[in-house]
């Protein structure tokens, strides 16, 4: 046991400590270098994230501009053709966006001096709206070439620029569905007369021909006309203005209950619908309906010979072959309205537009309002019977 090691333990330990210290120094140096790189990297990454969030915020601004444009144009839909209406939406959205972006450019800088929103002023922004699935709106906002978001790091070592020339935005409002539905309603407006005629004829058969007396009643014709209107709404929009219908059916107006007679003047009623749209009768396509039809007068004009001579009796038509007489009466009913009727539909399923209302903001559904030009609606009822009958106006 008289053997000796190569070096004493303490000498080996000292050597290890020296090696460890060298390693620590090396690691610290490389760590410092890596930290510098990491800081640069983090700074670049942070700048890139900031640029992307600003890009997305501008997208959001573009969407808000389309919301406003849709809201404004939708309320005056009947003032445009389909082509000019789309152009008006695009133009208004571009105006709102241009105004907003100019303000935002300075506001971003106030909050973060690294940001520079460089919107080229060679031409105004251009918006193009198109139909997306289920009648929603897609928008492509085009800014002048050269528009970009530029960011500079605090140490001004890193500079980043991302282009902001084309922005795609999805708008969660079914404008195109509303437009198409209203087009269908207007195209088939004649259906109201057909439905009204059918209902008048059924009433005539039921109440008149069996008893020999056909009574032409203005209140009834008014109610039947309004029911025909509601049925046409139901067929086209999947709903009708049933609150208004219910109000009429309850005869609130004729009951003379002053405080209930017109609880919602048309304007305020419309505003209430804008915020609290009635639930659609059918879940598809999910539209709420408002209408304003104020009937001024209902008039009847006999078109058969006896009637034209001012007689209440129907016109007898002898059938020579059988020797019998068929009694014929025909009359035209005209409903005249006080004002142009208003038809308005709301995207009940998407109450998504943050719009200023009174003294606060609320989410409203997009409205599509149409003022019809027709103030007179006519239908003709023809009745035949083998027994004599009379027609009189009550």
């Amino acid at each position: 046991m008289n053997e000796h090691g190569f070096v004493p333990f303490s000498a080996a330990g000292a050597l290890i400590v020296i090696l460890a210290l060298v390693l620590v120094a090396q690691a610290s140096l490389s760590g410092h270098q890596r930290s510098l790189w990491d800081i640069d990297d983090a700074s670049s990454s942070s700048l890139l994230t900031k640029a992307r969030t600003i890009h997305a915020d501008l997208q959001s601004t573009a969407r808000q501009s389309v919301y406003l444009a849709l809201s404004e144009v939708g309320k005056r839909a009947s003032e445009y053709t389909n082509t000019t209406r789309k152009a008006a939406i695009e133009s208004l959205a571009a105006d709102h966006f241009a105004e907003r972006v100019t303000e935002l450019a300075s506001e971003y800088v106030e909050h973060d001096a690294r940001i520079d929103l460089d919107i080229a002023e060679t031409s105004p922004p251009f918006f193009e709206v198109s139909e997306s699935e289920f009648g929603y709106v897609s928008t492509l906002a085009s800014l002048p070439a050269g528009s970009r978001i530029r960011l500079t790091s605090w140490d001004e070592k890193t500079e980043l620029a991302i282009t902001f020339e084309k922005v795609y935005v999805f708008v969660d409002s079914r404008y195109f569905l509303l437009e198409r539905s209203m087009d269908n309603f207007l195209r088939d407006l004649g259906n109201i007369n057909s439905l009204w005629q059918t209902m008048e004829y059924t009433q005539t058969i039921a109440a008149g021909l069996l008893t020999g007396k056909v009574e032409l009643n203005a209140s009834r014709s008014k109610a039947l006309f309004e029911s025909a209107w509601a049925l046409h709404e139901l067929k086209t929009f999947g709903s009708s203005d049933y609150w208004r219908q219910a109000q009429r059916l309850l005869c609130i107006e004729s009951a003379g209950a002053g405080f209930l007679a017109d609880p919602m003047q048309s304007t305020s009623r419309e505003k209430i619908y804008e915020i609290f749209p009635p639930v659609p009768i059918k879940s598809h396509p999910g539209l709420s309906v408002y209408h304003e039809i104020r009937i001024k007068s209902v008039s009847y004009k006999r078109q058969d010979l006896a009637g034209m001579l001012g007689l209440q009796t129907a016109t007898p038509i002898p059938v020579v072959k059988t020797g019998t007489i068929i009694w014929w009466a025909q009359w035209e009913i005209t409903v005249e309205l006080c004002d142009n009727p208003v038809e308005e539909i709301f995207d009940f399923e998407n109450p998504t537009l943050p719009i200023f209302f009174a003294t606060s903001y609320v989410h409203k559904p997009l409205a599509y309002r149409w003022e019809l030009s027709e103030k007179k609606f006519k239908t003709v009822v023809t009745a035949f019977n083998i027994k004599p009958f009379s027609v009189f106006v009550r």
């Binding site: 983090a42 994230t49 909050h111 003294t359």
Partner: protein, 221 residues
Amino acid sequence: MDKGIGQVADILVFALLISIAITALSAVVLVDLRVEVSLYASNLAQSTLLSFQYSTAEQFGGFEYQLGAFGFEANFPLAMESTRRDLRYKTLCQLIEETALLNLRVEVAGVAVPLLRPNMAMEGCLEVLLKRVLDLTVGGKFEYRLLVRTVPVDLGFVQLIFEMEISKLSGTKDQMCSETMALSLPTTEEELMEILRPFKSVPSVAFDPDPIIEVGLELWS
């Protein structure tokens, strides 16, 4: 005997020196690890904020709230349906912007003015949604605090303000990072003045609104 003592002393010195070497090396490793975690947290926070811009509420189970009927509780089914606001296609950032816009509070001399708040439920629903999202994205790794704040009008004695805080913090922790993003409040000077009008606080001269919403996400470990 002396030789034996010398050997023991030699071994003890050796052990001491080895300990010093290990301590020096481990300190370097620990410092490095903390920097790594901090960087990771920072990247995660940035990605999370960025995802708010592009993720829709629908991806996290949807978003809807009930509009208060301006002071009346609408409890019958038809009215409930009419006051329901389904905003599933909006991005999380849009929801933050619109919640702030629809829930601006008026403070006079630092005291909140009681108002009818028809959109109050939206704020609560957003808090629930954002908490769900943060639990999913960062909750498994870090504790967090999300702060949303905007003061679009500050006239000294009267302010229009919105603040929201969502957090999951327990006990004393180390803050790993704090990342912010700026959103804009979709409003105009005229509309802000209309909100102030009932309080007779509309300034006689034009004022410069500041419609930027600051959204900050802190991650703690």
